[in-house]
């Protein structure tokens, strides 16, 4: 077990526990706080994969933006009083059963499927990121703004229009009448 694997185990435990805490916490505000840690764990996983830019985006957009937005919304709407116990026991039991069955089926499918690496035709496994597997910010910019074969200019512009529409729509919907 080198430091890489130990870090993976720490992140995996953190993500799993925070996810459970997010859906089981009594108060919505606490759920948002636990979600923050789950998102940080996913960002750490991106860093572990060598996708540092994606990890930074995750930290900035999710942990810095969305969670703060949720906390504000929860405090503004006094939604912090939500309780799991308002549900009947049967409903919680049925939901848990459904989720566990789905999880079991998923894990069975994942274990049965043979995911092979395209290059080496070996089962996919994570090794420490090398120079070739990293996607630098330079590459990201090149791909984002190119119209060629590997270009993402159209989705990039579409997302920018979407974000503009989203800002305007959020203002229109939430404005005082």
């Amino acid at each position: 077990m080198d430091a890489y694997n130990i870090m993976f185990v720490i992140l995996a435990v953190m993500i799993a526990l925070s996810s459970f805490a997010t859906v089981l916490a009594k108060s919505v505000l606490r759920a948002a706080a636990y979600l923050f840690f789950a998102l940080l764990g996913v960002a750490g996983m991106y860093f572990l994969l060598g996708y540092t830019f994606l990890g930074s985006v995750q930290v900035m957009v999710y942990c810095g933006g969305i969670v703060v937005l949720y906390v504000f919304a929860i405090l503004l709407t006094r939604g912090a009083k939500d309780k799991l116990s308002e549900n009947t026991r049967t409903k919680i039991f049925a939901s848990a059963l459904l989720s566990l069955t789905g999880l079991g089926a998923f894990i069975y499918a994942i274990v049965k499927a043979k995911f092979l690496n395209s290059m080496f035709m070996t089962p996919g496994a994570l090794t420490a990121p090398t120079e070739g597997s990293m996607i630098s910010i330079n590459n990201v910019g090149q791909h984002m703004l190119s119209t060629g074969e590997n270009g993402y200019l159209l989705p990039f512009e579409a997302v920018s229009v979407l974000l503009l529409a989203c800002i305007v729509a959020a203002l229109v919907i939430a404005r005082k009448r």
């Binding site: 996983m45 949720y70 395209s118």
Partner: protein
């Protein structure tokens, strides 16, 4: 050696924790938190498939990147709607949300 399966199982756990929250929560904001969990699980899957199965490519990477941007837009709109609903009805639990028009 970290196998691909380990991360896929981890994201499946995250996904189904989100589904459980989606089914049991009453407050719409808590449901949105569960949706965030599910979206993160899918993003993680995209990045992991890209990194472990197709190192030369970058499709999964960019899909995760765009997915994050779209999720941000989605939650901003959803929160605006919830705040508006709260102004009208003084309650945002799903049981009370019977009329969405105003």
């Amino acid at each position: 050696m970290i196998q691909l399966n380990y991360i896929l199982i981890l994201s499946a756990v995250m996904m189904f924790a989100g589904i459980f929250g989606f089914l049991t929560r009453r407050s719409t904001l808590a449901i949105l938190l569960s949706i965030e969990l599910m979206l993160n699980a899918t993003d993680l899957n995209f990045a992991v498939f890209n990194r472990m199965l197709w190192q030369d490519g970058h499709e999964g990477y960019f899909f995760a990147l765009f997915s994050i941007a779209i999720t941000a837009a989605e939650s901003a709109i959803a929160i605006a709607i919830m705040i508006n609903v709260y102004r009208q009805l003084k309650d945002i639990s799903v049981g009370k949300l019977e009329k969405m028009k105003f």
